[in-house]
């Protein structure tokens, strides 16, 4: 409780209310006011999330900060919230990224400022709702609601081909999640009229319905992650989205899919998860290997980073289905770390795009001489993206590779190719963009990053380094929950 208000509700509704407040400032005449309200609202959203961390009991394996009240009694639907060691770090990540997005869009967005800022704040609250919901219908509502602001962000503030990208994004993810709703309704019937996710965790199920439920969930979550082969919406969405949209998409929205596997697939249908784990591992490894090679040849920086995202998220799904502690925790660490690094990478591209209005690698070259401060930050994030030890990018990859070798040496072998491919596509891009002589005259006029941009980059740099040098605190939050989940998944439900 904070000021007598329940914490999780505050974390969800404060940004939404602030977002509505931003929308209320109206047209661009009041743009400056919209920006400031958005900043205050997003920072307040982060501040109210901090007690989640400080008051969290890492040794407790039940849900914490639970709120429970009836919502639609006729169908036994509840407003039921709670977090564990998996959901809480993701909520914090989301609350951490939102102010950065607001600051990143500060001067860059000059049209429909209030709507832009409002969309991000509302989305931040909705996403917190997804991570905190313990009622399937409540979860579903938040889940689908999160599509709307992103659809608008891409469709309104996006690039020239934004309509195609926005519709592709919307349909892909919407179609994916429809079967999830069917699965919920089935579970409602079988469980004797409950939409409680925690009830589902305990519900015994025969193998064949488990497999069907697993596939229904898989479609919803695999599209979000995204896993190969349902990843093709992501590069298009990123390319057209404005910088802030790309940041939130990569850093936050992709994590919804990963979270879904941990909250639904594994605990509700553990036998099916084991039964289909080979397929999941295969799909994840294809994402790691295939997508990395595709990333190598992208001429567009945003596409390259989008593919790199898919490849890195492959480590998360790989880790889930290895069923050991390194893998599961490594996957979680990878998701959080990817939140920082992909955000930073997209912001770096945004910085360049704001100056030259091009995302093509070929249009750059020799930035190091013109923008040394930027080049230094970009180098750090590029190295983190290549999984250099000492940065957060290494921790998750290292743990998942260790976990894979434990299960099967060749899984580890394929996963470890990221050491080579990840460095290849990232550093080759860096080389062509930042190093070399200045070829294009426009580059000579590019100015180094300003104070506002340095602030964002520095915050992310600290996050990336802190997590790489001292990941212990994050892991200690997760240990109990992950152990609990692993022992739960190990028990058959048949």
């Amino acid at each position: 409780m904070l000021f007598g208000l329940p914490l999780l509700s505050l974390v969800i509704w404060l940004p939404i209310v602030a977002g509505i407040g931003v929308l209320a400032t109206g047209g661009d005449r009041n743009a400056q006011m919209a920006r400031w309200i958005a900043l205050v609202g997003s920072v307040a959203g982060l501040l109210v999330a901090i007690p989640l961390l400080t008051q969290f009991d890492p040794l407790e394996n039940a849900m914490q900060f639970v709120e429970h009240s009836p919502w639609i009694e006729r169908f036994n639907i509840h407003y039921h919230l709670g977090v564990d060691g998996i959901a809480m770090p993701l909520i914090l990540l989301n609350c951490f990224i939102t102010p950065l997005v607001v600051i990143a869009g500060w001067e860059v967005i000059s049209k429909r400022v209030s709507q832009y800022m409002g969309a991000f704040l509302i989305m931040s609250g909705i996403v917190n709702g997804v991570f905190a919901a313990l009622d399937a219908i409540l979860f579903y509502v938040f889940w689908e609601a999160s599509l709307i602001p992103m659809f608008l962000i891409i469709g309104v503030w996006g690039g020239p081909n934004r309509v195609y990208a926005a519709i592709k994004f919307f349909l892909y993810t919407l179609l994916g999640s429809l079967l999830m709703l069917v699965a919920f309704i089935y579970l409602y019937q079988v469980s004797g009229g409950s939409f409680s996710i925690l009830d589902y965790h305990k519900l015994p199920l025969p193998l064949s319905p488990q497999i069907l439920i697993f596939i229904a969930f898989l479609l919803a979550f695999a599209v979000k992650v995204p896993m190969w082969p349902v990843h093709t919406w992501l590069p298009d969405a990123h390319v057209e989205a404005p910088t802030g949209g790309s940041v939130v998409l990569a850093a936050i929205l992709l994590k919804l899919g990963g979270y879904g596997f941990l909250r639904f697939s594994l605990p509700i249908v553990p036998d099916a998860s084991h039964y289909l784990s080979d397929m999941m591992i295969a799909l994840s490894l294809i994402a790691v290997v295939y997508i990395a090679v595709v990333a190598l040849v992208q001429p567009d920086m945003k596409k390259l980073i989008a593919y790199s995202s898919v490849s890195h998220m492959g480590f998360a799904t790989l880790g889930f289905f290895l069923f050991n502690a390194y893998g599961m925790e490594g996957a979680m660490v990878q998701m959080i770390s990817h939140g920082f690094i992909s955000a930073a990478m997209f912001l770096c591209v945004g910085v360049m795009y704001d100056r030259l209005h091009s995302r093509q690698i070929a249009d750059y070259g020799g930035l190091a001489a013109r923008m040394p401060v930027f080049a230094a930050f970009f180098m750090l994030f590029a190295m983190a993206n290549s999984g250099l030890p000492g940065t957060s990018g290494f921790v998750g990859e290292f743990m998942v590779i260790m976990a894979s070798v434990k299960v099967n040496f060749w899984y580890g072998f394929l996963a470890a190719t990221t050491l080579i491919t990840g460095a290849s596509y990232t550093l080759w891009m860096y080389k062509r963009v930042v190093f070399g002589a200045v070829v294009h005259p426009a580059v000579t006029e590019m100015k180094d990053i300003n104070g506002r941009e340095i602030l964002i980059m520095a915050i992310l740099a600290v996050a990336v380094l802190a997590m790489g040098l001292y990941p212990l605190p994050l892991l200690e939050i997760m240990h109990t929950t992950v152990d609990d989940l692993l022992s739960h998944v190990a028990r058959s439900k048949l």
Binding site: V294, P389, V405, A416, F435
Partner: protein
């Protein structure tokens, strides 16, 4: 925390502080204060390292953790130090050479706009390298391993506007990553079977694990430690530039000369050698891995030395010489003569640093001309550079009395005594290369310093000895280039390394050598009657004859050799082959997967195909809703007709 533990922390953290100050505040404090602060902190580092070294000599060994990096499952991953004879020796070598290079840099880089950045990088490098050698576990070793790789990348590409430099640094990083790929998998197997990454715990369990079988390729059984050690050694092949992962090292010469000396000759490239010596309790248990190292080391020694003969760029000669000398060290490891490998690592660090820094001194004098064909007769202009390089050349050629003689001779003896497969081949390579080493080293010396000056008049007028910041490190490093060899008795045959290096009794090379060893003078007089000595004299003589007496002969030989000399000139076409296969292949594959897999199949067929199918179905269904009453009436009549028929004649 005891006083000694504070020193352990101080040694790596002092250069780190220097790196941060010069890197973050370099523009504020200016060039002079940047080098003052970093050098002062390097002095602290050297002092701490020496103090630690002296403490270790008294027998105080430390193994403990600094902090817990993370925990997962039942495993604790820690950052900690193992301070014993091996790490203390490395600490002294690394910090001393690094300090010399810091001082040298003042003279070499004083006009460079990236002056502060350079100091920041080399201090950062020293920190990383110290963390690597002081580590007490595999994880931190990997941290240091990658961190030195990062700094190497940054420094090779230091002049980032040069296309060759940024090509070379990317290549260096990626080739190293190939090695790290194997290294990390090796670490993965260690973690899986031993359940810990702590050296002491792993080494203690190793003998029991040695007989355990593992099936990596289905159907073939391996002893567990064989794949582990080979994979770890793949990491060493990357970092220590062993064939076939050697291709990055010659190109790394694109970086400024001080770092060629520090990173790409004296310290970082020897990390692989150090790592294997550190893992001696594991490698000793697998003869296959030892044989593998002998063969790889042999190939690297001989074939890289051959390439050095035809190089005309002064730095590249030294670079190929480094590759060849690293091959010697690998041979020593394969022959279970770890202490000889480390001993050669140490002497090589000194004499190779002199050769590089001396080459740098020449390059400054020549206004950044590196082609030896345009030098000659520099001796009278640059006496200090000449004499220090002369000492280093004698050490490199293995002339008795100089440090390289003792270390190289003991490697050759060790491999001679070794009794595992591959030793014969490695012995042949090691002995043949003695001649080649002497030849190319003195070829460099004669072409650069003797004979008639071949530079243009303008350059010749401005020739002069380099300032004291350059010559002081040369002298300071030339002294151990002679003297370090005289430590052979304690280091190789005494109990110097204690339990830091373990050798199984059936690998008796070191034991036999030690039985034959009859003191330093005995070793030198004995050498006069052995083949390597005469080969090295012959090498020097041949170089003198070809480059001082019959100077037109090399060209003729080159022409007569035809394809063989082309092969050497083009470095066996390995670069071309890799660039075609890996760089070209990966891009072609990527394009194929992207254009065909993603764009055509997934998006074209499935995603947009679904959309098209929906559209097509809609088109079809739309025809039924034409809006004309008579269409609907007609359809209705047909329907009624069918229904009635079914009702009347149906079952």
């Amino acid at each position: 925390m005891t006083e000694m533990q504070k020193l352990y922390l101080l040694a790596p953290l002092a250069p780190l502080a220097g790196a941060l100050i010069a890197g973050l505040f370099g523009r504020v404090i200016g060039p002079a204060w940047s080098h003052r602060i970093t050098i002062a902190l390097m002095l602290v580092c050297v002092a701490a390292s020496v103090a630690v070294f002296l403490d270790v000599l008294k027998g105080n060994i430390f193994n403990g953790s600094v902090y817990t990096w993370m925990t997962s499952g039942d495993t604790r991953f820690e950052v900690g130090f193992l301070i014993d004879q091996l790490s203390a020796t490395m600490m002294v070598v690394v910090s001393f050479v690094s300090l010399m290079v810091h001082i040298y840099t003042i003279g070499y880089m004083h006009e460079d706009p990236g002056y502060q950045r350079f100091f920041s990088y080399i201090s950062l490098f020293t920190f990383s390298m110290l963390m690597l050698v002081m580590s007490n576990n595999f994880l931190q070793l990997f941290f240091g391993w990658e961190a030195v790789g990062l700094v190497s990348y940054l420094l090779i590409g230091f002049w980032y506007t040069r296309p060759t430099a940024i090509y070379a640094n990317l290549k260096a990083f990626l080739v190293n990553r190939v090695g790290d790929f194997g290294f990390l998998l090796g670490i993965g197997l260690v973690l899986m079977y031993f359940g810990t990454l702590d050296y002491a715990a792993v080494f203690a369990q190793a003998p029991q694990m040695a007989t355990q079988a593992i099936e990596i390729i289905p159907g073939s059984q391996w002893e567990l430690l064989t794949p582990i050690c080979i994979l770890l050694f793949v990491g060493a092949m990357g970092k220590s530039a062993q064939f076939p992962l050697h291709v990055w090292l010659p190109d790394s010469m694109e970086g400024p000369t001080p770092i060629s000396a520090l990173i790409h000759a004296a310290t970082m490239v020897t990390a692989g050698i150090f790592m294997v010596a550190r893992m001696s309790p594991l490698f000793e248990l697998t003869e296959t891995a030892l044989s593998f190292m002998l063969v790889i080391g042999g190939i690297t020694t001989l074939f890289m030395a051959l390439v050095a003969i035809v190089q005309n760029d002064i730095k590249r000669v030294v670079a190929y010489s480094t590759l060849s000398q690293l091959g010697y060290m690998t041979i020593a490891l394969g022959a279970s003569a770890y202490s000889a490998g480390i001993f050669h690592l140490m002497t090589h660090a000194f004499f190779k640093a002199v050769l590089f820094l001396g080459a740098g001194s020449v390059i400054i004098a020549m206004h950044h001309e590196q082609d030896m064909r345009k030098m000659g007769g520099l001796k009278k202009y640059m006496p200090i550079t000449y004499w220090t390089m002369f000492i280093a050349a004698l050490a490199s050629a293995g002339v008795p009395g100089f440090s390289g003689f003792f270390s190289k001779e003991s490697i050759i003896e060790a491999v001679h005594f070794a009794n595992i497969p591959g030793a014969g081949f490695a012995y042949f390579c090691a002995v043949t290369t003695v001649f080649i080493t002497a030849f190319y080293t003195f070829r460099l010396l004669f072409m650069t310093f003797h004979g008639k000056p071949r530079m243009d008049h303008h350059t010749e007028e401005h020739l002069h000895e380099s300032p004291w910041m350059v010559t002081l490190p040369l002298i300071a490093l030339a002294i151990p280039s002679i003297g370090a060899g005289w430590l052979i008795e304690p280091m190789l045959f005494g109990d110097y390394f204690g339990s830091a290096i373990q050798i199984m009794s059936q690998h008796e090379a070191m034991e036999k050598m030690s039985a034959e060893f009859s003191g330093i003078l005995g070793m030198m007089t004995h050498a006069l009657s052995t083949l390597p000595f005469w080969l090295s004299i012959a090498g020097i003589f041949t170089a003198w004859y070809l480059y001082m007496v019959k100077t037109d002969l090399p060209g003729k030989i080159k022409q007569a050799a035809g394809p063989f000399s082309t092969l050497l000139d083009r470095k066996y076409f390995i670069d071309e082959f890799y660039s075609w296969l890996f760089a070209g292949g990966a891009r072609a594959l990527g394009r194929g997967l992207w254009k065909f897999g993603d764009v055509k199949v997934i998006d074209g067929f499935f995603v947009n195909g679904t959309a098209r199918m929906v559209a097509a179905t809609a088109m079809l269904v739309r025809r039924f809703q034409s809006g004309y009453i008579y269409h609907y009436a007609f359809t209705m009549i047909v329907g009624v007709f069918i229904l009635m028929s079914l009702w009347l004649y149906g079952p």
